[in-house]
Symmetry: C2
Subunit: 230 residues, 2 copies
Amino acid sequence: MTPAADDPIRVAVSTVIFSVRTREDRDVLMIPLVRRTRDPFVGSWALPGGWLASDEGLGLAAGRTLAETTGLAPSWLEQLYTFGDLDRSPSRVVSIVYWALLRSDLVEAQREAVDAPENVAWFDVDDLPQLAFDHRHIIDYAVWRLRNKAGYSRIAAGLLPDEFTLAELRAVYETVLGRRLDPSNFRRLLEGSEALVPTERFRTGSHRPARIFRYNSEVELADLGPLGSS
Amino acid sequence: MTPAADDPIRVAVSTVIFSVRTREDRDVLMIPLVRRTRDPFVGSWALPGGWLASDEGLGLAAGRTLAETTGLAPSWLEQLYTFGDLDRSPSRVVSIVYWALLRSDLVEAQREAVDAPENVAWFDVDDLPQLAFDHRHIIDYAVWRLRNKAGYSRIAAGLLPDEFTLAELRAVYETVLGRRLDPSNFRRLLEGSEALVPTERFRTGSHRPARIFRYNSEVELADLGPLGSS
């Protein structure tokens, strides 16, 4: 059913929020999805989101609808793309999609305030269920952008707690990129970086002690150019 | 005046279309702007654009409104960002903005079919007039994205005719980036590239003959990932 030229256009906001979670002893790049409780696509999984209100900005709407549906508050939020194909929904809906990162240490703490938590579940981005609308296409694009951006920025740090060892940082990059990285090359590349600040503390345990680092908070996770100051 | 939560939200589409044009013997990165003939901002310059129709896709709407206001058809069109701040317009308008490139040899050919061509003018991106709405901010971001992208893709080729010499290619990069590039470094970097196909023809004139190249059309100007196939 094709809409007519002057049919109403509704504006929605959705968010693809990534976190690294441990599943069966393995770190996995995951996103939360919300099971739809009404048509269209009742019973299918969909991205967290909702309608844009006239009196809220786009990023605020992304944060609000994410909190309302999943109880999560992102550590990084950035606009991804606006999807508006005619056939993506029975009526004409333009979806402004954000992508977000959630620090792994904050996932479990943020489950209060969700009405129906049984309708929210986390999924491996490489093993997704049946999805409503064009949300599979949207997620594919978000994963591609995250992997791409991880290659030239320190965006993956948005998935880590404040402090971490180089091995932990490498592990999160490996999970995002989906491939192993050479430990000594990785160390060489990162140790000279101004963005990484060594602390005087060490992680001890079954391995030899590993120095704990934190990120220099004066360096942005990614350069948004003129948007950064808006 | 802040809109109420359930006021209507209107969706507009605008395009920042770049071309390299010669001004007083100098190549300049320029964009066309349209003078507004009604309020708000009557008399100010604005980006070409218009309202999204319910029965057209976003990219098609960008192309249509660009053609209607300026008569131009882009050689490259890509979604830039969606702007939706509350105070960007007296009523609530969300603008999905595209950025585009126009080959320098096609600018003059495309001026038919514009109702009021005296309301369209080209401006140096570094010397813009007073702009309506948040269009100055939008253009700043588009210029930043183009310059950024020119650093890691062959996007600037979208500003050139089908065939060109290495000196012409370097000149367009210099104009986009706003700085001089070393001729021998540039030649070394580009000559080995698979994207560049040498022809057996040469440009002759006041300088020594220069080989004419064309781009390998099987290589995309920029990688759009999963969006490229949509």
